[in-house]
Amino acid sequence: MARRIGTAVVVGSLISLAPAAALAEHDHTFMMSDSRDPASSEISAGVSIEAAQFDNGTYIGSYQGVLPQISWMRGRFGASATIGLYHLEENGLAVNGIGDAMATAHVTVWSNAAIETGVAMHVMVPTGSELENLGMGHAMAMPSAWGVWRLHPVTLTASAGYNRALISLDGEHHDHGPMPLVDPMNLQEVAWNAGADVELGAHVHVGGHLLGGIPIGMGINRVVGGGRVAWGTSRVSTGAELQLGLAGDPFSIRGVVETALRF
């Protein structure tokens, strides 16, 4: 069970590196058991529902999102893709639309019974409307590294990555600060995530984590704190998380509920 938690948190950490905390902070990975056959592939499908309120000084409002996700894993390798569908209210205007899409590839580089490390690459595709504050308006590349330390019943995780907009950063564009509203980040930043989860028994886990983005050059430091509870088996998992924007105004408060099924 400890290893199952570990693997779960690993992938959770990976996802949390994605700016889209939406894509993000999601742990539908408690189902990822070490009983997995390394020689066979597995597919999982999940959906997250989130709701948030924000006030970043320029925009005041709220949003609700539905984020389907599909994942593939084989041995040490994995990949996933997700995109959000949002209802956003910003300064009195209500819009509906898709957000930026995220694709992730990750690999476990080294592991033993207690420690697991790996690397990942997230790529964000600008499918969301920049004008409506649903997307960044450009692609992002986000390489990262992560590690997990299992101390049954506790699992500690940490990860760090580099988020970079695939555009010129010469500052010729008018700066609105971190964008988009549904999952803000800087044009160039160091992303980080640290957390801990505890197994309570009966497939139930509770945990908390901090994550954020430290801008490189122009931007705003961002910190999010979250507490979560999750239940998972080898086939299905469900979790809920409450998050607070602690710095940088990514949102005031956000709730995320998620469930996923492995095939």
Binding site: S41, I43, G57, T58, Y59, I60, I70, W72, R74, A79, S80, A81, I83, E90, N91, G92, L93, V95, I98, A101, A103, V125, P126, T127, G128, S129, E130, L131, E132, G135, G137, H138, A139, E172, H173, H174, H176
Partner: protein, 139 residues
């Protein structure tokens, strides 16, 4: 894996390409002073912008316009001239038509219930030139 690859292909095909872009318009040298706040800017802003971009509108009345992007005064425009240029201006290489939007309020701060008047191409070019000139003038 093929399903994920197909998903990525579809996502890439759906990439949203509407991006506000600086026009890089330049003020003639010397400044002819033919485009000023009184002769051009105020009328342009009143006609196309201040139904939502006005300092007396609270956030729920702005129909999505960001706070502190208020164009009912010259100094307000000069707080964010790049924003105006990137959303409504026109230059040699680009014409930005993100603003005005398609729907506008009949009264400032009201609901979106009428088609927005749209600037002509010449007005958009003059907007970008005026902004370039105005930023270099003493205030």
């Amino acid at each position: 894996m093929r399903l994920i690859a197909l998903s990525l292909f579809v996502l890439a095909a759906c990439a949203n390409s509407a991006t506000p872009t600086p026009t890089m318009a330049a003020c003639p040298d010397p400044d002819p002073m033919s485009l000023t706040w009184d002769s051009f800017g105020m009328q342009f802003m009143t006609t196309y912008c201040t139904d939502c971009h006005a300092s007396d509108l609270k956030h729920t009345q702005r129909n999505g316009a960001p706070l502190y992007h208020d164009y009912d005064t010259l100094m307000g425009v000069l707080e964010t001239p790049e924003h105006v240029d990137e959303y409504a201006g026109s230059g040699l290489t680009v014409t930005n038509t993100e603003m005005p939007p398609s729907q506008c309020p009949t009264m400032p701060g009201g609901s979106l219930n009428r088609d927005c008047p749209q600037p002509t191409e010449e007005e958009r070019k003059n907007l970008s030139i005026w902004l370039a000139c105005e930023q270099n003038r003493p205030h």
